[in-house]
């Protein structure tokens, strides 16, 4: 069997080979090039603004991964994911600002990394709480319970109580120097970018591994037919709750990451619209694929950026365009979803899969 190119048939002789990350040298080469592109070329070429755009993509992707897991792999439709991102963000912020860290840990820059892990755990457990109804309800009814998560968490618990801690009202600012990872103070888009890349890489590897495990297969079985899955001996409630936990965990990481980018936090960052946006991201990217979450995040952020770039010169003649940009952006979001539903219902990931297949099978693609 060729170790460079994919063979024209399935010649795997063990599960280890079948599940290998890099099945050929060519794939390994491609991934090394991708790594060089992300870790060297982009930070070398992009200015601070475009790095901040990349950070926005990373944040969207970290959020969308959880939504993809719940909707795309486990079939549990959610419209309250930004609540779990908010839990992660607030847990991390409060730990940084209020927890009496020993000076040694602050000096070693461990406070923020530890807060990310704790934030992810808390968000995961909070997500399980709102996943409990999934044991009894599904479809539209589940959508409503996840929406309740949004309103109970963000509009009630966080806005009225959590964000009042310290007596400063709704918005927290993180003073410069408080977000530190090891010896590095995360205070520029450049440093945030590298942190984002590390987190995104770890989350994608973690999720991809989970999906090829027993849990992943159980999730897909539940998605395809929960009754059949139960008949096959899968504990449906357990695996649904596990999916909520992992999705919340990823959301918590997204939230904890986001505070490093903004150095500020308020409940307005985590509106219901952001939950809807994340669903839009996976619909456009492709439901049921990690690639879908990646492509959807890149597409949605870049389209909005290009839209903004596009209207700037026109604003000299039509100044109202700048004032109306907020709504142009939201209209573009709606339009993009409609366009994809009509012209590309399986999302960008499907198109990517087709392109890859074309080259993999070339010249005998029939």
């Amino acid at each position: 069997m060729s170790t460079t190119w994919l063979p024209c048939g399935d010649y795997h002789q063990s599960y280890l080979e079948d599940h290998a990350w890099f099945q050929t040298k060519f794939i390994k080469g491609k991934m090394i090039l991708l790594g060089l592109f992300l870790f060297v070329l982009i930070p070398w070429l992009a200015d601070s603004y475009w790095l901040s755009v990349c950070n926005q993509i990373g944040y969207t992707l970290l959020g969308a991964l959880g939504v993809q897991l719940l909707i795309g792999f486990c079939g549990q439709v959610t419209l309250g994911h930004s609540a779990f991102i908010a839990v992660g963000a607030y847990t991390s912020t409060l730990l940084i600002l209020e927890f009496p860290w020993p000076q040694l840990m602050l000096n070693l820059g461990l406070a923020y990394p530890i807060s990310i892990i704790v934030a992810a755990m808390v968000a995961g457990l909070w997500s399980v709480l709102f996943g409990l109804p999934s044991a009894r309800v599904k479809g539209f009814y589940l959508i409503l319970t996840t929406m309740a998560a949004q309103f109970i968490t963000v509009d009630f618990v966080i806005t009225q109580y959590v964000s009042q801690i310290g007596g400063r009202g709704q918005a927290f600012s993180l003073p410069p120097g408080t977000i530190k990872v090891g010896p590095w103070v995360i205070d520029t888009d450049f440093k945030v970018y590298f942190m984002m890349l590390v987190l995104v890489t770890l989350c994608i590897i973690g999720l991809a591994n989970l999906l090829r495990s027993r849990a992943g297969r159980a999730w897909v079985a539940i998605r395809d037919n929960d009754i059949s899955a139960e008949v096959m001996g899968i504990n449906v409630v357990k695996y649904k709750l596990l999916a909520f936990f992992v999705a919340g965990f990823l959301g918590g990481i997204a939230g904890a990451f986001w505070i490093s980018n903004l150095a500020a936090i308020s409940p307005e960052h985590f509106t219901w619209f952001w939950s809807l946006w994340l669903v839009g991201v996976i619909l456009i990217g492709g439901v049921g694929s990690i690639h879908g979450a990646i492509f959807g995040s890149i597409f949605m952020v870049l389209v909005m950026e290009f839209l903004q770039i596009g209207i700037m010169p026109l604003a000299d003649s039509y100044p109202k365009l700048l004032m109306d940009f907020l709504f142009i952006k939201e209209a573009a979001f709606g339009l993009a979803i409609c366009a994809f539903m009509i012209f590309e219902p399986y999302g960008i990931a499907y198109r990517w899969w087709q392109i890859k297949n074309y080259f993999n099978l070339w010249p005998f693609s029939y």
């Binding site: 603004y49 290009f306 903004q308 770039i309 596009g310 907020l326």
Partner: protein
């Protein structure tokens, strides 16, 4: 329809727009770029729309006067819908576009951005007058051409204590009872709470439970009934005009019997229009002249309002326009001074511009502006007005700095 052709057309369109933009960015060499954030559609749009009009009118005026020593100001004015994340995103855009300063809006976003603008050394002239932004040791690049919320709140409760309480039948028999009505969750509304309660304690008030009234409230009866249970003599309103007028109306309808004092963003020409008879006697702080009144430079404001926004009748324009003019004129002067010193940068605008102001007068009944390297509060005197027959009448010019000089100098800065 062939979807491939649709996608190719969209891609070409986006590519062409990107090209146009990159070329247009090269063309703007002789301009001074300024970012502008306004709220014309969000929770504070009742006061934000007029402020936005005032901001663009004032920039037109500045450019007609030759801009910053001959360089025209290019204003990038965005509506951010009072959404903090949108404000943060737009700030990054302003930075990328090469803005030398930003004209901001709300307290939540201004306070959230404060560490970032300090790091970026970006002068940020906001419509948020939160006292948290007045201590240069913590927020050196935050500025505004107005007295801050805490100063306004202290002045308003003091004016009521001086002028109204002595006429009350219970004067001398008991402490006056006071409650605060505001949207707890909004940083703008809650910014001066600590200060006004401190002043209430200083003057000997009995403070009752705060009432949570949202910025978009239209029915506040339950909150008014709670104030009635407490038998409040005075209510401080920390919201914007629409919400304040709803509360004042409900208080009138339910016979609360208390007086009202209002923060500056809840006290404008729309209050008597919206609350009618219920607004009579309501007192409030104002940081600039009401629109159209005969004071220095008002003729220019009116002329530019007519010229650039003829679709908005003058009788609908508000003091918010004047507040915007005040901020723009202050920034203009600071940029002029910095440019003359050959340093039109963030630190230059702050140190060689704003912090050289010693009683700089921009007219429009804005107190003469003073900014020092240790104190960004412009003045210690606040005029308190009341609504009388649907018009605004001066009650008292409260001199906090003169009455409590030690506290003003040593205690009250920055909160």
């Amino acid at each position: 329809m062939n979807f491939k052709s649709v996608w190719s057309k969209i891609s070409i369109f986006l590519f062409v727009l990107a090209l146009i933009t990159s070329f247009s960015a090269m063309a703007g060499a002789a301009e001074v770029k300024v970012g502008g954030l306004v709220d014309v559609t969000g929770a504070t749009s009742d006061v934000g729309k007029d402020y936005a009009l005032g901001m663009s009118d004032a920039i037109h005026y500045v450019n007609d006067q030759g801009g910053v020593n001959g360089k025209q100001i290019k204003l990038y004015q965005f509506d951010y819908g009072y959404r903090i994340p949108e404000a943060l995103t737009k700030y990054k855009l302003f930075k990328r576009l090469g803005s030398v300063a930003v004209l901001g809006w709300g307290t939540g976003d201004t306070e959230a951005l404060s560490p970032t603008i300090t790091k970026d050394e970006m002068p940020y002239v906001s419509a948020s007058y939160s006292a948290h932004l007045t201590n240069p040791a913590k927020t050196p690049y935050n500025l505004f051409a107005a007295t801050d919320y805490s100063t306004n709140a202290r002045a308003a409760i003091t004016a009521w204590f001086d002028k109204r309480w002595p006429t009350h039948p219970d004067y001398g028999k008991r402490k006056p009872r006071f409650v605060c009505s505001y949207h707890f969750a909004h940083p703008y509304c809650s910014a001066p709470i600590k200060a006004i309660k401190d002043q209430a304690e200083l003057l000997g008030f009995e403070v009752g439970p705060d009432q949570n009234v949202t910025l978009t409230a239209i029915d506040t009866k339950s909150q008014v009934l709670a104030m009635k249970d407490f038998k409040a003599d005075l209510v401080w309103h920390g919201n914007t005009t629409m919400s304040v007028s709803a509360t004042v109306r409900d208080a009138f309808a339910l016979g609360l019997g208390a007086d009202h004092i209002v923060n500056n963003w809840g006290f404008d020409e729309n209050l008597p229009r919206l609350a009618g008879k219920a607004a009579e006697g309501v007192m409030g702080a104002t940081v600039a002249e009401f629109f159209g009144n005969n004071v220095k430079n008002m003729d220019i404001v009116v002329e530019y309002a007519k010229k650039y926004n003829p679709g908005v009748p003058l009788e609908k324009r508000l003091v918010r326009s004047i507040q915007a003019w005040a901020n723009v004129l202050a920034l203009w002067e600071a940029m002029n001074r910095a440019d003359k010193a050959g340093d039109l940068t963030g630190p230059g605008i702050l140190k060689k511009g704003f912090e050289t102001f010693r009683g700089f007068d921009i007219g429009l009944s804005v107190p003469p502006l003073n900014y020092t390297a240790t104190d960004h509060r412009i003045a210690g005197q606040v005029p308190i007005y009341e609504v009388k027959n649907g018009k605004f009448a001066l009650v008292e010019l409260v001199d906090l700095k003169g009455r409590w000089p030690d506290k003003w100098a040593n205690e009250w800065l920055g909160w």
